[in-house]
Amino acid sequence: MAVVYEKTGVLTDTPLHYCPGCTHGIIHRLVAEAIDELGIQGKTVGIAPVGCAVFAYNYFNVDMMEAAHGRAPAVATGCKRVNPDNIVFTYQGDGDLASIGAAEITHAATRGENITVIFVNNAIYGMTGGQMAPTTLPGQVTTTSPYGRDPALCGYPIRVSEMLATLDGPGYIARCSVHDVKHIMDTKKCIKKAFETQIARKGFSMVEVLSTCPTNWGMTPREALNWLEANMIPQYPLGVKKEVE
């Protein structure tokens, strides 16, 4: 029988623990395929976050480190400085990266730290049960914004990609989405581009991926994809925010 599709060897055979309909699985696959296609598995080190992707070290078939909450860019910095020929990436959610880890991501970016960051933004804290994130949309109901996020009370969502794109250190920053096939394919191109930026030693690279959380959004997977497209993309416009030639 002809093989039409094969799981990349850069993912282990461990079953993913993610909820049904969660888009982490897609993003894991895109990252792993990018590593595979660039032929860098043997020199890649991944840094897992605290959050839903905390067990990423069980899934990516490369050397991995598990960081404290928000500190993945600092851990990646230490790793990269010791072995500059390694390809080092972090995989972080929005609570991890944009809230508790805001300092670490900002300074890794402004240092032009030659690492790649996969930033999964689903506008909520998933693992802890659906609390408000720095990226939660105005009016969005979460377990800690039960009346909807009120900007007068707790401010506005952070557009991390735009913010970091103002810095001189980054070589590549893009925001993508995985709500349909076309955008999934675009996301893969961006992730590959981010790794290529690191390989070419052009400085910090990050891909922000808009993602869904059907469980904590209280939606079916299909509704969640639609909600992402209708609500998140207007707040978080897609596209390349910075690219150094």
Binding site: G78, R81, V82, E104
Partner: protein, 358 residues
């Protein structure tokens, strides 16, 4: 190298680290330890493969240490009390992930911002773990610049040997004073194992397991096994790594227990007391953890009383009491950050105890 030089404690520690093969330093400015990162920022970029990086915070610095240690680097950070508090989260993770590194704490007065002068009030934090979870760290407390040099070099080997962080704890005086030092050139001991566990890049055809640098053990039974494994290491450290110095304890009626700079002042007091005809002795813990219980328990067999002297309100005195185990009175004299106990004050305290015991 090898000849005697006049060096400030902080700079001597930095050079000793370099001579011990330390090639990576991540830190953040805080008084009174700034000469360590400053020295490293001058030296490390001139050494092949060396990297000094000023982190955005103490929190980031210790996590850079985690990443560098996880990648197999010989790595160090330094700070002073408030900064060490900030590093505690990272230290807990480093212990959990079994990574070797050296951390220097030039202790200053607290709590809070406290003062920038020498203190010993971080004893509890240093010897009881400091961060969250069940763990221990080897804590080395030099009492001279020369000893700081030697213990810093030892610290790197101990860290690698046990895959556990080692804390070099100086009161601010050790960092700030200048003393003649002989800087030993370092020779890497042959018996240190290769860091085959480090995350340096792997494929399925590699001749080792895939590296996972991690402190998460979600299954409670697996976590308990992991923590038991850590405690087996700590048991070995307690058996084999305990260091102390004893002076004139064999016939001592009154045993002073002090570490770091305070021990030097206590030594002067002890000698003067001897000259007065009072049989005083001194036990100076060099490892604060593991604590030298044995010599203290032994001295408790014949001594009349103990005096613990610290630049704090009394923290190590708890360990002295545990070691003495109620057999003899244990008294305490201490001053807080920046107020160094004087020889006269210590003599007065011992005389007071001698009078009461008589």
């Amino acid at each position: 190298m090898g000849q005697k030089m006049l060096m400030k404690g902080n700079e001597a520690i930095a050079e000793a680290a370099i001579q011990a093969g330390c090639r990576f330093f991540f830190g953040y400015p805080i008084t009174p330890q700034n000469q360590i990162p400053e020295y490293m920022s001058k030296r490390l970029p001139k050494i092949e493969g060396g990297c000094f990086l000023q982190a955005e915070s103490e929190v980031a610095a210790i996590n850079m240490v985690y990443g560098a240690a996880g990648a197999g680097g010989r790595v160090m950070t330094s700070s002073s009390s408030p900064g060490i508090s900030l590093k505690q989260e990272g230290i807990s993770y480093i212990v959990g992930a079994e990574l070797p590194c050296v951390i220097v704490n030039m202790v200053r007065g607290g709590p809070g911002l406290g003062s920038i002068q020498p203190a010993q009030s971080d004893y509890y934090q240093s010897t009881r773990g400091g961060g969250h979870g069940d763990y221990r760290m080897l804590v080395l407390a030099p009492s001279s610049v020369q000893e700081a040099v030697e213990l810093t070099q030892t610290a790197f080997d101990l860290a690698d040997k046990y895959r556990n962080p080692v804390l070099v704890m100086g009161d601010g005086l050790i960092g700030q004073m200048m003393e003649p030092v002989e800087m030993p050139e370092y020779k890497k001991p042959a018996d240190l194992p290769e860091k085959t566990w480090a995350a340096t890049g792997w494929t399925p055809s590699s001749d080792r397991e895939r590296a996972i640098i991690n402190s998460l053990y979600i299954d409670p039974a697996v976590l308990e096994k992991h923590v038991n494994h850590l405690y087996e290491k700590y048991a070995v450290m307690e058996r084999t790594e305990c260091r102390w110095q004893e002076e004139m304890t064999e016939d001592a009626d009154y045993v002073i227990v002090a570490y770091g700079t305070t021990a030097r002042i206590a030594r002067s007091a002890m000698r003067k007391l001897r000259a007065e005809g009072i049989r005083a002795g001194l036990i100076r813990p060099i490892t604060l953890w593991p604590f030298p219980n044995a010599p203290i328990a032994k001295a408790a067999e014949h001594a009349k009383a103990f005096l613990t002297v610290e630049m704090s309100m009394g923290q190590m005195v708890d360990d002295v009491r545990l070691a003495v185990d109620g057999k003899k009175p244990v008294r305490f004299f201490g001053r807080t950050g920046g107020i160094v106990p004087t020889v006269r004050e210590i003599i007065t305290e011992v005389e007071k105890i001698a009078k009461e015991e008589a």
